[in-house]
Symmetry: C2
Subunit: 387 residues, 2 copies
């Protein structure tokens, strides 16, 4: 008896893919420049080819620039941003360790959840969704919970709400707690400034598909010497073989020991995306995001729409907009996609169904797109897509 794959009864082949052209103005993936797509389509090299190994070194060097760090342990993990998050937690935590984590959006909650799965205890500091967090609230929560903490974790760029978390005061708190400082910079990297060394962050993770404007599938991470020491003095092996940085560093470092087959072509894309970001200049790039994000946010408020985050705490690259009470969420997004070819995002968690998320990330952050998404929304909010 043969399985379906070897039968005459195979399903008909689908046609070759022909994706429509969209303008990606959601929470990511973002617009990918043509040169990044072209780089990705270059012939595949072996993951131990000397030319590819040289490319890896260049990527690490450029990522250090983007992260604002001199950390030797700076490299892209072979998975999406969530794999980057899990990498940091699974490598730095052992069963019984405690994490103090701010939860003012989906991604803070995700850190807590992933930490628990590693066998750690997560003490959550609940914050209002759409507002930044205050170190003093953490200080009080730590005192109330007692005991020590291995990690102090917060989301610098909360992709679910559009909050830009200021980074002042956290290093001091981490030192008081004797904890390593962990920051989620998934949506920040390549957009708003990331300065790990200045902030005193010990471990950070990002994604390729946000302000770097690279396709999804890679998660740049960076560990400070203090975090590396923690990793190297664990009592137990890292619970994940695939994400074990002790093993992965042997491949990305001088030893070049095979661990897993690197996603070669995606790394081509990341190489080119990093080049474009650094060639623009990180200050200039941040200024572009700030300027156009403010322009969009003013425009939306001018349309009478309410933003989820007060001025001064907003990410320029991701704007959360309240869906007006008399408007249905999904039909508007479908209208934008079908009539304007524009993708924006819906809300997550308690913001599902009542929030739109508009991204101006990397190559997608242009004056033309600021105008386009407003034109689309204006058309959508006219009848007949009102609820």
């Amino acid at each position: 008896m043969r399985g379906p794959g070897y039968d005459a009864g195979m399903p008909a082949l689908p046609p070759s893919l022909d994706p429509p052209r969209r303008v990606l103005l959601g929470p990511g993936p973002s617009e990918v420049p043509a040169s990044v797509l072209q780089a990705m389509a270059r012939p595949t090299l072996g993951h131990l080819d000397p030319r590819f190994l040289a490319l890896m070194d260049e990527i690490r060097e450029m990522l250090r620039g983007l992260f604002g760090t001199a950390n030797g342990w700076t490299l892209p993990m072979s998975g999406t941003g969530s794999a980057g998050m899990e990498t940091v937690l699974v490598n730095l935590l052992e069963p019984g360790d405690r994490v103090l984590v701010g939860v003012n959006g989906v991604f803070g909650g995700r850190i807590a959840e992933a930490a628990r799965r590693v066998g750690a205890e997560a003490v959550e500091v609940a914050g209002e969704w759409g507002r930044a967090l205050d170190p003093d609230d953490f200080r009080r929560a730590a005192r109330a919970a007692g005991g020590s903490f291995r990690l102090l974790a917060l989301v610098h760029a909360e992709t679910s709400t559009g909050v830009l978390q200021p980074m002042e005061g956290w290093r001091e708190l981490a030192d008081e707690l004797g904890a390593l400082l962990v920051a989620d910079v998934v949506t920040a990297l390549g957009g708003t400034p990331v300065r790990l060394d200045e902030w005193g962050v010990d471990a950070a993770f990002a994604g390729s598909q946000k302000c770097l404007s690279c396709p999804p599938g890679l998660a740049p991470v960076s560990l400070s010497p203090r975090a590396v020491e923690r990793l190297q003095t664990r009592r137990e092996p890292v619970r994940s073989w695939y994400l074990d940085l002790n093993l992965i560093a042997r491949y990305w470092g001088g030893e070049r020991a095979y661990h897993h087959t690197a996603p070669v072509n995606l790394l081509y894309a990341l190489h080119e995306a990093c080049r474009l970001a650094l060639a623009e200049g990180l200050e200039q790039r941040a200024a572009r995001h700030r300027r156009l994000g403010a322009e969009l946010q003013a425009g939306l408020e001018g349309m009478g729409l309410e933003l989820r985050v007060p001025a001064g705490e907003r990410l320029p690259q991701l704007t959360a907009v309240a869906v007006p009470d008399d408007v249905a969420d999904a039909p508007v997004r479908r209208f934008l996609l079908e009539e304007f070819g524009v993708e924006i995002g819906g809300g997550l968690g308690p913001m599902a169904g009542n929030t739109w998320r508009i991204g101006l990330m990397g190559a997608g952050c242009t004056r033309a797109n600021v105008a386009l998404v407003q034109a689309g929304l204006r058309a959508a909010l006219a009848a007949p897509v009102r609820a």
Copy 2:
């Protein structure tokens, strides 16, 4: 004080990448057809775009054909083949569970190691490297170890040695043990026949970058209804958030709930690679690998080289060759790469330094490449690259 990324002191930008053209005849990544590279470079869609969701369904359907299964839970994980292995183990095992695993090469050992990291106990059945395993040896080992086993795991295509493990008798043994049957088909899928339903395999994992001739970065996995039941009746949550199939199935299934951002462009490539494999026909494709693998193996033996695996137990798509005593491994591989543009692989584990691995996988499995790699080896084995 500013971090390096925001200083005037940034390192010089590397040039845009310009990978040399190689012929990939190692253990993977393999040759990638132009249409697969082109598919990958199509504009990125959002991971919740209706057109992308339709593409995901087509991929699942084609993967079912390739795996020879009707399993509903058949999908590509967002990581390389090793992530596929870890997915199966972390989802099906709980702390204290036991795995009976055959170790006759690097990848069997890796299963044991990854299982231990999940908190399970791995009972290893050691086999000779370069030989297939016998269910009766497992039966004896299970009896000697006593107790019950959650998983019976073996490597169907051992990429480190080139052994093709026959699949007869394992389902019966798994039933005797009350265990789920797990098979590593990383190097088999799209090359030699994979017939999960006929074999009675409950969980299998593969890689995109072997006989599917897709770039690395995706790991197709498939779970039988029995494995899914096991997953759904766990006592504890899956220890990895990123690889938790309960969550991932909500995205790949009808619910379309966001979990992580799918690696959209890599999935374009997989879609096209699956199309090419199925369009060729799996029987024809297997026959091509068998025919040309045998031709290469006969040719190498004709050159006086010794193969690591006896006839009858060889993978046609991966041939392990003993490095002659008076020849140095690395200079020969470097010569092939530099003079012929041909990549072959070195050995792993105890075969490091004394074994070459030659792959004829997917698009790389051609008569021209059979001739090319032999011509290169003949030239390399002439002076001056002898040790």
